[in-house]
């Protein structure tokens, strides 16, 4: 058997990123465990989110949650859906503690089941397992983004809702649900890392209610200050710094003619 490393430009780059991230992550985790936590800048939408949970508990109306129109089996959107499910766990804990009711709409069978598990664990941990029902997690469609958002829109229009959280992979179709929430004055928190959805979220939900790009991946660490989650944020920042340094060095190298085809290397 002839075993060898597949070392093309993309795999070498992936290996470097993976190794660097793991090193940064474990160092930051060890620091966080020793109580050295980073200072997190405030994210306005999360303050509003806590308010929404409180409003839902006071009014007796449900809080609606959508983990996005992507799915766990949808390769480009899987990471966003995973992050959204972690956020759902934290929101479920908050709703369970405050006595608010939560309903979830899923666009994928795997997401539907995972959302049910995450919510059930959160309600059980909060000491209120009886307040959770699997019937509160709705399977709307199987990876059909437009039909899914139409289902979410219909749910917002017909069910009494204290607020909606639309967090995950969305494209332009988000506007159907976002504008219905705006029209019915249902407070919403929206977030996506897709450039197709971000401007629409800002104009429909408002800039103070929108989580942009990487912020949706940072939400779990903001809601639950577990050392591992904070360490992952620190590792991201360290890696970002490394990329900024690489870009500056690359610009200098290319401008001074030290390396002529550095751009082509990265494009490959």
């Amino acid at each position: 058997m002839n075993v060898s490393l597949a070392l093309g430009p993309s795999t070498v780059f992936a290996l470097i990123v993976l190794a660097a991230f793991l090193i940064f992550f474990f160092v930051a985790w060890s620091n966080s465990e020793q109580g050295r936590s980073p200072n997190l800048r405030a994210l306005r939408p999360l303050t509003r989110l806590r308010g929404l949970i409180g409003q839902s508990a006071e009014s007796g109306r449900r809080l609606h949650y959508s983990p996005g129109s992507g799915g766990l089996n949808d390769q480009p959107g899987a990471a966003e859906t995973l992050s959204s499910l972690t956020t759902l766990g934290e929101i479920s804990r908050g709703t369970a503690r405050s006595g608010a009711s939560l309903e979830i709409s899923a666009n994928d069978t795997l997401t539907f089941l995972a959302a049910g598990d995450v919510t059930e664990v959160a309600f059980t941990e909060a000491g209120r397992p009886d307040d959770f029902s699997r019937d509160d997690v709705h399977f709307v469609t199987q990876q059909d983004r437009l039909a899914y958002i139409a289902g979410v829109e219909s749910s917002l229009a017909t069910e009494p809702t204290a607020g909606t959280v639309l967090l995950g992979r969305f494209d332009a179709e988000y506007l159907l649900a976002g504008e219905t929430a705006s029209r019915l004055a249902i407070p919403q928190i929206a977030g996506s890392s897709r450039v197709e959805a971000m401007p629409l979220m800002i104009i429909s939900a408002g800039s103070e209610e929108t989580l942009l790009g990487e912020e949706i991946y940072a939400v779990p660490a903001y809601l639950d200050h577990r050392p591992a989650l904070l360490a992952s944020l620190r590792a991201q920042d360290a890696l970002r710094l490394l990329i900024i340094v690489a870009i500056i060095l690359g610009v200098i190298a290319a401008s001074t003619g030290l390396v002529s085809d550095i751009g082509n290397y990265f494009l490959r």
Binding site: M1, N2, V3, S4, A6, T11, A14, L18, F21, F25, N73, A78, A79, E80, L82, S83, L85, T86, G89, D108, T109, L110, F112, A114, D117, V118, V121, E125, D135, V137, F139, V140, L146, A147, A150, S154, A172, E173, L175, L176, G178, S182, S193, V195, M198, L200, I203, S204, G206, L212, G213, E214, Y217, L229, S232, A235, Q236, L239, R240, I243
Partner: protein, 206 residues
């Protein structure tokens, strides 16, 4: 037993991650394992679809039972789901293969989906009218940028002279911002995926 219940999923996740990474970074060791695992996920998702269908049926049967003005929609959903499934099964059994399902998709579903999508243009205008009001310097800049880019798309004079400014906006500031967002997003995606693969993010089983 409790410990096994806790650690078994984590061990499976970690082993799967190692297999996929080994497949990605080597040749000749476990070629095709990643692809095979992805196929497994698709097969599991296919089986789970029945569970999703049962959920939809249960939710809408409950709504029918409760009554109210919206029960007609639940009835429409249940009837159309039943008709599509039965038409697909009978069509195949009668030797028409997928032509019945394809006909429903092409002549009923697609026009409905296209109509729904076309609503986005009107919703976009209504949202833009609500947002693009000059209230402070930031919103003024936003409005100026939007107007210049919109007018720059018009082919005839006098607006054609704005097309180069519009193109400059899109080629430099906008593209730079998009690339910055993409780098941040990619880092977030890597961090989230690795947290799950390492079993650190295990809120589905804590």
């Amino acid at each position: 037993m409790q410990r096994l219940k806790l650690y078994l999923p984590l061990i499976v996740v970690l082993l799967t991650a190692l297999l996929v990474l080994a497949d990605f970074f080597t040749t000749g060791l476990i070629d095709g394992v990643g692809h095979a695992l992805a196929l497994w996920v698709s097969m599991i998702a296919g089986v789970l679809l029945l569970l999703g269908l049962a959920n939809i049926a249960w939710v809408h049967l409950q709504r029918l039972q409760k009554g109210g003005a919206n029960r007609v929609y639940s009835l429409a959903l249940l009837v159309s789901a039943f008709v599509v499934i039965v038409a697909g099964v009978i069509g195949r059994a009668a030797g028409y293969q997928d032509s019945v399902s394809n006909w429903i998709f092409q002549y009923i579903y697609q026009p409905l989906a296209t109509t729904l999508f076309s609503l986005l243009a009107f919703l976009l205008i209504s949202a833009a009218l609500r947002t693009l009001r000059i209230r402070n310097i930031e919103s003024a800049l936003l409005v100026i940028g939007a107007v210049v880019v919109l007018l720059g798309q018009i082919a005839f004079t006098p607006f054609s002279s704005l097309s180069s400014i519009s193109q400059w906006f899109q080629d430099y500031p906008v593209l730079g911002i998009i690339r910055g967002i993409l780098i941040g997003t990619a880092l977030g995606a890597i961090a989230t995926s690795l947290r799950y693969l390492l079993g650190v993010d295990n809120n589905y089983m804590r």
